[in-house]
């Protein structure tokens, strides 16, 4: 269980996040959606521990945790190291954890196909398109294999087909390994398709506006045309327009 309590955050004198309270149970898949600049990335930075909030605290199972412990964070920028090839970039997290080279390579080869990266493992980042770079960053975060994953628009610039296959794959991983996932996205359909709860944020200052429980029994992974789905989508759009 992650508890996000009374988070306030200022940048210089501007209030960026105001009174964020959110409790995420283990095994939940949460989507966060909100207008650009409302502080979604800032919130994930704070949850991951790389940014200190002005007030408030984050606890996991009731305890404060060290940065990098239990939480994998895929940031919005791909942040690939230009001097490392795809393989070496993907493996950096495990390398830092001290895993032996051969095991890291095995894990990468094992997952590369799911990410559509098997042909590109020896490419350098500057030789890849934006979508491919994002997949490498995604793979890097997934490989670390922490129980909690923060994903900041992981599928932002991917084509629809790759996106949909990664959706399925992500749901698979999520169920099989009982992960807890917080996903930031701009894509309302994606938010509903994947999550059991959608958090809508509003801007100036960033705060939680509304929260929707998604009945997973009524949402099919691919079907975006059911009545339930469309109704939910309409409500969220209304929130975002207001």
């Amino acid at each position: 269980m992650i508890e996000i309590k009374n988070i306030n955050f200022n940048f210089i004198n501007q209030k960026i996040l105001s009174d964020i309270n959110l409790t995420v149970s283990s095994g939940e898949f949460i989507s966060i959606i909100g207008p650009s600049g409302c502080g979604k990335s800032t919130l994930l930075n704070i949850i991951s521990g790389i940014t200190k909030p002005k007030t408030g605290e984050i606890t996991v199972e009731g305890k404060k945790i060290a940065v990098g412990d239990k939480i994998s964070y895929m940031q919005q920028k791909d942040l690939l190291l230009p001097w490392r090839n795809v393989r070496e970039n993907a493996g950096i997290g495990l390398e830092i954890k001290g895993l032996p080279h051969t095991i890291i390579q095995k894990k990468i080869s094992h997952l590369a196909k799911d990410f559509g990266l098997e042909k590109f493992l020896n490419y350098m980042p500057h030789e890849l398109s934006g979508g491919l770079r994002q997949r490498v960053a995604f793979l890097r975060a997934v490989l670390i294999d922490n129980p909690i994953m923060l994903l900041d628009e992981p599928l932002g610039s991917l084509d629809a087909i790759t996106k949909s296959s990664l959706h399925e794959w992500l749901m698979d991983v999520f169920r099989k390994f009982s992960k807890t996932i917080i996903l930031v996205t701009h894509d309302i359909e994606e938010a509903i398709l994947l999550a059991n709860r959608v958090i809508v944020m509003s801007t100036n200052p960033g705060r939680i506006l509304k929260e929707y429980i998604v009945d997973r029994n009524l949402v099919d992974n691919k079907d975006v045309t059911s009545n339930y789905f469309i109704k939910l989508k309409k409500e969220i759009i209304k929130d975002l327009i207001l």
Binding site: D69, S72, W83, I92, G93, I96
Partner: protein, 252 residues
């Protein structure tokens, strides 16, 4: 195809150098310039061959001063930048000192250094270090400051130690700047060596130039300059080769 690229890259500079040399040679002949005033390139070449022993001996002296000086300078700059990485406040402490050390023209210190450390190898090394460590340190400090904040955060979010951060992020990130600092230092080190030898020494190419000028052995002065340029070129291209090897995988 590869041959074409080589021709395209090396032909123009080689041709222009030859053009200048030929122009020089013919001007000296046509205007009948005396060799003690301005020796022709062929005169300089003859001098290089005739006094190759004295030139080689003193080139080796200068080269060893430069090599030792550069190595010490590089080690000092790495130490300082390491300190800046580990102790944030160290930068504020060292920066004013670094800047002040550059306001004093180093060559005015040279006579004092000769008084303090004698006319041997040691004083030359100190002068070379004083000349070269600044571009090295400045390049490193700037590079350290420019390491992408988001990358640092990313490494933090992976739960890395400070040492891992240094090894896996900082060292590769600052390597290109470090090598360009080395290139500058290589060229400057030659100037430092000559100044040191000029002011107080009994060997080295700077000393050869100093005693040859007043004796109107102008060809020998030029021959020494050729040797010095050759040393600078060799050092410079050593770093270029190193760059080619170490930065092979970097973009651009």
């Amino acid at each position: 195809m590869k041959k074409n690229i080589i021709i395209k890259n090396y032909l123009p500079p080689t041709a222009s150098v030859f053009f200048v040399l030929i122009l020089w040679q013919f001007s000296v002949i046509i205007f009948n310039v005396e060799s003690w005033f301005l020796p022709s390139p062929s005169n300089i070449l003859i001098e290089l061959i005739n006094s190759y022993e004295i030139l080689l001996e003193n080139s080796l002296v200068t080269l060893s001063e430069i090599t030792i000086g550069l190595i010490i300078s590089i080690l000092i700059s790495i130490m300082i930048s390491g300190m800046i990485f580990w102790f944030k406040s160290f930068e504020k402490t060292i920066y004013p000192l670094l800047i002040t050390s550059q306001i004093i023209p180093v060559f005015t210190l040279a006579p004092i250094l000769i008084v303090w450390f004698g006319t041997g190898l040691f004083s030359k090394i100190i002068i070379i270090v004083l000349f070269t460590f600044f571009p090295l340190v400045i390049n490193l400090v700037t590079a350290i400051k420019n390491v992408d904040m988001d990358m640092i955060r990313m490494f933090n979010s992976l739960g890395c130690t400070k040492f891992q951060m240094f090894r896996k992020l900082y060292i590769p990130a600052i390597l290109p700047n470090f090598l360009s600092g080395c290139k500058v230092a290589c060229v400057i080190s030659v100037i430092g060596a000559v100044i040191g030898e000029w002011i107080g020494s009994s060997n080295g190419l700077g000393w050869v130039m100093k005693i040859s000028g007043p004796q109107f052995q102008t060809a020998r002065v030029f021959a020494s300059i050729v040797c010095l340029s050759f040393i600078a070129l060799v050092l410079f291209f050593t770093v270029v080769m190193l760059e080619k090897k170490l930065l092979r995988r970097y973009p651009n």
